[in-house]
C-alpha cells in the first residue's frame, strides 16, 4: 500500500510518485513505442490499443516557451486564480526519447529562460488554491551535466 498523499492533485490520473518526487503518468504503445502524455487508451501514431501506463522522465530540455501575461478567463481557469493573477511561464519540455510535455514553468522572467536549458519536474499549487497541486517544470541544477 502506498501512503495516502497529504495533498490533492488537480487530476490524480496525471501525476504519480510522491510530493517530493512526483512523476508524470503517460503511456507507451507496445507496438510502435510512441509515448504520450497524458496516458491514453490507444496510440495516436499507429492506432494500436495495446498501450501501457508509463512514468515519464522528470528532467528534460526547454523546447519552447512564452510568458502568459493576461489572466485567463474563468472558466476554465479558476475564479480565485484570476483574482490573484501574476504572469507565469509556459513551455514545452522535451523528455529525452519520450515526448515533449506542455507545462507551467516556475520561472516567469524572460531573461532567465532560453531554449535548450535543463528543466525538472516539480509541483505547484493550482492557481488560487491552497490545497490542490498541479505539475510544473523549474530550471534544473546542472549537477549531473
Amino acid at each position: 500500500m502506498t501512503e495516502a498523499p497529504p495533498f490533492q492533485l488537480v487530476d490524480p490520473g496525471l501525476i504519480g510518485g510522491t510530493e517530493r518526487e512526483p512523476r508524470l503518468i503517460g503511456s507507451a504503445c507496445q507496438r510502435c513505442g510512441t509515448v504520450t502524455f497524458p496516458r491514453q487508451a490507444s496510440c495516436p501514431r499507429c492506432t494500436s490499443e495495446d498501450v501501457h501506463t508509463r512514468e515519464l522522465a522528470t528532467r528534460g530540455a526547454l523546447w519552447t516557451w512564452t510568458i502568459q501575461r493576461f489572466a485567463p478567463k474563468a472558466p476554465p481557469y479558476p475564479e480565485a486564480g484570476v483574482e490573484e493573477f501574476e504572469p507565469y511561464g509556459v513551455g514545452y519540455i522535451e523528455l529525452p526519447g519520450e515526448v515533449r510535455v506542455e507545462a507551467r514553468l516556475t520561472e516567469s522572467d524572460p531573461e532567465r529562460l532560453r531554449i535548450g536549458m535543463a528543466m525538472e519536474l516539480t509541483l505547484i499549487p493550482v492557481p488560487g488554491s491552497s490545497e490542490r497541486l498541479t505539475f510544473a517544470f523549474r530550471p534544473a541544477e546542472e549537477e549531473d551535466e
Binding site: T66, P72, P76, V99, R104, I115, P127
Partner: protein, 384 residues
C-alpha cells in the same frame, strides 16, 4: 475556358467586421447572403443548395425564415476555424458532382470581448488543462513562433512589419474593423501579451459575416461576365507529429502541419504551383502565423520570410501581396466568417473591384489558407 464541371464564385457579399451592438450574428449572416445574391443577380429561389455556420452565433439554416422558405437543402456546419472552409468544401463537392447547380455558402460569428475561453472538456482534454492555465490559443501561437524564430532567425521586427502591413491594408478596407495605421515602433512597444507577441500583433475575437454564391458549368457564364473559378478546396486535420493548438504533449518525431498538407492537396487538385500564385490570404491569428504559414503553404522556403518581408514582397505593391484586406489582424476574428472572408477578398481582387486596396499588378491566381484549433486547415485556389 470553362468546362461543365467547373465551379466558380458568381456572387460575393459581406457584412462589415467589427462590433455591431444590437445586430445578431444570424442577422449579419442573412445580410451578407442577400448581398451575395444581389451581387450574383439572382434570387434566393434560384439557390438549390446551401451550407454555412458559425462557431458561437447560432444555426445558419434558421436564416431560411428570413431569406425565404423555399425548401432548399441547407447544411449547418460547425467546425471551428474551418467552418467556412468546410461549408465551401461541401458546396464545391455538391456542385462538382452535379447534385446542385447554384449554391450559397455563408459564415458568420459574434464573440464577446477578450480572448476566447474554450472548455477543455469540449476539446477532449481534462479540466486540469484549463485549471492549470494552459487552455489558451495565444500561448500556442507564441510558443510556435518562439521556436520558429530560433530555428530560422526571424526577428521581432519582422513580426511588427506583418502587423503594420495589416493595419495599413485595413485602413483602405471599409469592411475592416481596425482602420488606423500603426507604425512598426508602436506595434513593438505595445503591451507584451505572450512573449514574443505584443498586443497589436494579435487579432481579436470579433463579429462579421460573409456569403458567396457559387455556380457550376453552363450556369457560370449565364450568371456573370467575371467569374472567379474555384479550382480547388482542400481541408485537412492534423497528422501525428505536427505541432498544433491545445496539445498537452507533442511527439519528438515531427510531421508537416495540417496547413502544409491542405495546401499541397489544394495545389495538386488545381494543377497550379505555389510559384504561380499572384496574391494570397493567409491565417494571421497573430503576425507570427502569417510568417510561418507563408512557408507551410509552399509560397516561400522556411527561413526566407525575413528577407521577403523586409523587401516588401508581401505589401500591396509587392511581388506577392498577402492579406490585402488587412487579414484577421485588421478585420478581427469572427471564427465562422474568417475562412470565407479570405475567399471574398481574393474574388474582389481578381475581379479588380477591391477599391483603394486594389493590387495593381495583373493577378490571375489567388490562394487562401485558414487554420485553427485543434489543428485544422482549409485551403483554396482561385483563378480568372
Amino acid at each position: 475556358m470553362s468546362g461543365s464541371d467547373d465551379v466558380a464564385v458568381v456572387g460575393a457579399g459581406i457584412h462589415q467586421f467589427g462590433r455591431h451592438d444590437g445586430v445578431s450574428g444570424l442577422q449579419m449572416g442573412a445580410i451578407a447572403a442577400r448581398r451575395a445574391l444581389a451581387n450574383a443577380g439572382i434570387a434566393w429561389q434560384d439557390v438549390d443548395f446551401a451550407a454555412g455556420g458559425s462557431d458561437a452565433a447560432g444555426n445558419a439554416d434558421t436564416s431560411v425564415s428570413v431569406l425565404g422558405l423555399t425548401g432548399v437543402p441547407f447544411i449547418n456546419v460547425k467546425n471551428g476555424c474551418a467552418t467556412g472552409g468546410s461549408a465551401l468544401t461541401t458546396a464545391h463537392a455538391m456542385l462538382v458532382s452535379g447534385a446542385a447547380e447554384v449554391a450559397l455558402v455563408v459564415g458568420f460569428d459574434k464573440h464577446p470581448r477578450g480572448a476566447f475561453n474554450p472548455l477543455p472538456e469540449e476539446w477532449g482534454i481534462g479540466s486540469w488543462y484549463g485549471e492549470t492555465g494552459l487552455m489558451l490559443t495565444t500561448q500556442f501561437f507564441a510558443m510556435k513562433i518562439q521556436r520558429y524564430m530560433a530555428e530560422y532567425s526571424i526577428s521581432t521586427s519582422t513580426l511588427a512589419k506583418v502587423a503594420a502591413k495589416a493595419f495599413s491594408n485595413g485602413s483602405r478596407n471599409p469592411n475592416a474593423w481596425r482602420r488606423t495605421p500603426l507604425s512598426e515602433a508602436e506595434i513593438l512597444s505595445s503591451k507584451m501579451v505572450n512573449d514574443p507577441l505584443t498586443q497589436y500583433m494579435f487579432c481579436s475575437p470579433g463579429e462579421g459575416a460573409v456569403a458567396l454564391v457559387l455556380a457550376r458549368g453552363d450556369r457560370i457564364k449565364a450568371l456573370t461576365r467575371s467569374p472567379v473559378y474555384l479550382r480547388s478546396v482542400a481541408f485537412r486535420t492534423r497528422r501525428f507529429g505536427s505541432f498544433e493548438v491545445f496539445s498537452p504533449s507533442i511527439p519528438i518525431e515531427s510531421a508537416p502541419s495540417a496547413t502544409t498538407e491542405a495546401a499541397a492537396a489544394a495545389f495538386e487538385e488545381a494543377g497550379v504551383s505555389p510559384a504561380d500564385v499572384d496574391i494570397a490570404q493567409l491565417q494571421d491569428t497573430e503576425s507570427g502565423a502569417e510568417v510561418m504559414h507563408l512557408a507551410e503553404t509552399g509560397l516561400c522556403e522556411h527561413g526566407e520570410q525575413e528577407a521577403l518581408i523586409e523587401g516588401g514582397d508581401t505589401e500591396l505593391d509587392g511581388r506577392l501581396p498577402v492579406n490585402t484586406d488587412g487579414g484577421c489582424l485588421a478585420c478581427g476574428e469572427p471564427i465562422g466568417a474568417s475562412g470565407l472572408r479570405q475567399v471574398h477578398e481574393i474574388v474582389l481582387q481578381l475581379r479588380g473591384e477591391a477599391g483603394d486596396r486594389q493590387v495593381l499588378k495583373p493577378c490571375r491566381v489567388g490562394f487562401t489558407q485558414v487554420y485553427g484549433a485543434p489543428g485544422v486547415s482549409a485551403c483554396t485556389v482561385l483563378t480568372v
